[in-house]
Amino acid sequence: MKVFIVFLGLFLIHVSFLSYQGDLGYYVRCQAFLKAVAEECAAGAALYYDEEAYAEGCFRFLTDEGRKHIDYILEESRKTMPFPPDSVISYEVIFRDDDLGYEGSQETGNDTETEGGERIPSVTVTITALTEDLFRLPFLEVQEIKRAAKYELPY
């Protein structure tokens, strides 16, 4: 009986640990997925800029085209996302160029403006996924995953 009770204790510990390990692996996969999508959105959106303005020395993103790219990638990614089906995915995009300015870059900690005062156009995409709790056991609760990617252009 003593051996059986010890076994039951060990069994419970193992099951709990296995559950946490499995959920952690799932959480990491979700993060990697979001990061890849955010990178694709930022890199793609940074491709569209006003060529005429650029010829005159002003770098200006075509923000509408960039947003179309992000919307398309996100829409398609929803079909393959590893999250529970009722998850809500939203995004925030920040364009920084000569037209929109480079303000606010210090506040977010993303140093778009370098020490020498050089201004670098960039696109920052932050994707947020709101899901049900990804950890099945108590003590850990994760219902929101947020990953960001920033694409800078040489200027």
């Binding site: 069994f11 692996g25 990697a32 694709e40 491709l47 569209y48 075509l62 790219h69 990614s77």
Partner: protein
């Protein structure tokens, strides 16, 4: 004493399965990370070339084969092989599509102990997405 020995013999295999499962989970996670790296690397190359050229495809398959110890026939690969070009406005027809799947041979350790046949103890890990081409039309 004998009774305890008999109980121990019964419960020990169950506890050992957990140890095997931890190892297997780590191994599968590690393989998935390496698979993601292989596809990501090929995707970055494809962006520059406009599509997955035969060289990029062969290099990616080679890397996956080395990491997973599997043959090309076991992978499911759908790659854009016609060049796509960078556009000044968004055009979804110029995006590069890719889908690569690899089999995960063993998901659960000691599956036969629980009556799960090997055929049902495997899965497919897929990476599917689109990427924008950076190739400029001449």
């Amino acid at each position: 004493m004998m009774k305890q020995m008999i109980i121990l013999m019964g419960v020990l295999p169950i506890l050992l399965v957990f140890l095997l499962q931890y190892t297997l989970d780590q191994r599968n996670s590690d393989r998935i990370s390496r698979f993601q790296e292989c596809v990501y690397q090929a995707k970055e190359q494809a962006k520059q070339k406009g599509c997955f050229t035969p060289e990029i495809k062969a290099e990616m398959i080679d890397r996956i084969r080395n990491n997973f110890d599997i043959e090309e026939e076991e992978m499911e690969i759908v790659l854009e092989e016609v060049p796509r070009y960078r556009t000044s406005v968004f055009d979804q027809r110029e995006l590069i599509y890719y889908r690569v799947s690899v089999p995960i041979e063993k998901i659960m350790a000691g599956n036969r102990l629980f009556g799960i046949p090997d055929e049902e103890n495997r899965g497919l890990y897929t990476i599917e997405s689109w990427t924008a081409s950076e190739l400029i039309r001449e």
